[in-house]
């Protein structure tokens, strides 16, 4: 679970296809910092995918520089894998390509298929998987080696509700473990409130959205905790929560984006000394926790 050592930096990066093709992106400066979640927005065909391919290292820039390449994993929007492997066979191969040993890769493949509710397809040839199940394999492939940089190009498309929520949780785990995550998704509520930075691609250029996306959007979980009198909330918790009110001495009411609730609870329970979790319940204002379409 190695955190990213340094920033991935794009400096004056431009990309065009062909020698005289139009510039898809030009003059892009972007820094991806370890432990952050970055959202990229833009209309269809504006170059979001190209930007993600540059970040993932799949494409080299036509001009400009990319420095600080971390261990990277990428999830494409569609994964029609007409490959002659079974799901677990493919994931084991990809795990070793990502740098795991064969045994670790095979175990991680099983675990991630289980997390996404696809254990039943472990022995199924990829060519026979449905679109959604293929997408689960693509997501598992990216997560099983705990990458330092995770690039998600509409990775949620085609996943069922349970798997979508699981992927949001996995993203929160990656960032809390010190990895960076960059994603594109058409659903504006996807990981709402969680991104540390949001960029918009338009006219072949990249703009940072200055206003911090309101954390009040999207489903939240309310966690009531009791710490030692006068105890400070762990730093991981302070970073992840939307709001923290001290109700009694050492007693807090935390409002947490639903996707980060596991991360917050883990940080609280493993803190020294550990915090006591009094109550976990959905935020009254957004009763649709976990049941979003």
């Amino acid at each position: 679970m190695a955190p990213m050592q340094r920033d991935l930096r794009l400096t004056r990066v431009g990309r065009r296809y062909g020698l005289r093709g139009p510039w898809v992106l030009r003059g892009v400066d972007l820094t991806v910092t370890p432990g952050t979640l970055t959202r990229v927005e833009g209309a269809n065909g504006t170059g979001k995918s190209t930007l993600l391919r540059l970040l993932a290292g799949i494409d080299a820039p036509t001009e400009g520089r990319v420095t600080g390449r971390p261990r990277t994993a990428y999830v494409p929007e569609r994964f029609p894998a007409a490959l002659p492997f079974t799901a677990s066979g493919y994931l084991t191969h990809l795990g070793t390509v990502h740098g795991l040993s064969r045994r670790t890769a095979a175990r991680a493949a099983g675990e991630w298929l289980e997390r996404f509710g696809a254990s039943a397809y472990a022995g199924t040839p990829l060519a026979q998987l449905s679109k959604g199940s293929s997408q689960k394999v693509a997501v598992a492939q990216a997560l099983l080696a705990e990458p330092e940089l995770l690039v998600l190009d509409e990775a949620w498309t085609g996943l069922d509700t349970g798997a979508r929520a699981e992927l949001e949780r996995a993203v929160a785990e990656r960032t809390s473990a010190g990895g960076a995550v960059v994603f594109v998704d058409h659903d504006p509520r996807r990981l709402a409130g969680a991104p540390d930075a949001t960029y918009t691609v338009a006219d072949a250029a990249l703009d940072r959205r200055t206003e911090k996306a309101s954390s009040a959007v999207g489903p939240h979980t309310v966690v009531s905790v009791q710490g030692p009198p006068g105890g400070q909330l762990p730093a991981d918790v302070t970073r992840a929560v939307t709001s923290a009110e001290e109700i009694t001495p050492g007693g807090y009411r935390l409002t947490v984006p639903a996707s980060r609730s596991d991360v917050v609870l883990r940080a609280l329970l493993t803190a020294r000394p550990p915090w006591h979790v009094v109550r976990v319940h959905p935020d009254d204002l957004t009763p649709d926790l976990g049941g979003r379409s």
């Binding site: 494409d59 990428y74 894998a81 490959l83 002659p84 191969h93």
Partner: protein, 223 residues
């Protein structure tokens, strides 16, 4: 790199797309090689026939993945390493094919020069044939690397260019493959077994350059 090579080898073997070039090679050999013919002649023929087969194996290895699967591997290892692994897998498959053919041809052929004028030691002939086959496997994969993605991406242009380049590599004088093959054929007339180390070295250099170019372009010309 080991993991990448294992992945591409598994992809090649399980896809069964290796079957067509294998059948083509077997057909080449069935037409041109018969038991009891002069060994060096037959080895020269089998080495020459390996060249287009090696180019075809490269095409299979670099087009074996759907674009999404290729992107996933490119992200994990970088485009250059991933593409190089595909090329090396094809080279390995061609070398194995060439070695097997050399062994069979050496065993079934007549250990003699053309017209039975002189005895040709089978072991020396086999070694010479193996070196020539390797030179052809190398040059064939170089042709494949330069006439498929990322350099030529549309099949309509890639396949005819590849076939033409493979043919020229066998017949044009100055090509290491042509030098290795004609060395064997000349040796068969004189009864002296050649050691085609120079063509092999030249083929290795050309192939290294071709692989380096293709690997360097892998991330620049996608998707």
């Amino acid at each position: 790199m080991t993991a990448l090579l294992r992945y591409h080898t598994a992809l090649l073997l399980r896809s069964q797309r290796w079957l067509s070039p294998l059948i083509l090679y077997a057909a080449f050999l069935a037409v041109g090689v018969q038991g009891g013919q002069p060994v060096l002649d037959s080895l020269g023929y089998s080495a020459a026939a390996l060249l287009p087969v090696a180019a075809w194996l490269v095409r299979i290895c670099v087009t074996g993945e759907p674009p999404a699967a290729r992107a996933v591997v490119f992200a994990a290892t970088g485009p250059a390493r991933a593409h190089l692994a595909a090329l090396l897998t094809a080279l390995g498959a061609a070398a194995v094919l060439g070695a097997a053919a050399t062994l069979v041809v050496t065993l079934i052929s007549d250990p003699a020069a053309t017209g039975h004028r002189a005895h040709v030691p089978p072991l020396q002939a086999g070694v010479a044939g193996l070196l020539a086959a390797l030179a052809c496997a190398l040059l064939g994969t170089a042709v494949g690397a330069l006439t498929n993605r990322p350099l030529l991406r549309s099949p309509g242009r890639a396949v005819p260019t590849m076939l033409l380049a493979a043919l020229l590599s066998v017949v044009v004088s100055g090509s290491p493959a042509q030098a290795a093959v004609s060395g064997l054929v000349t040796g068969s007339r004189s009864g002296r077994v050649p050691v085609p180390l120079l063509p092999l070295a030249a083929a290795a250099l050309l192939t290294a350059a071709a692989f380096a170019l293709a690997a360097a372009l892998a991330g620049r010309r996608s998707p």
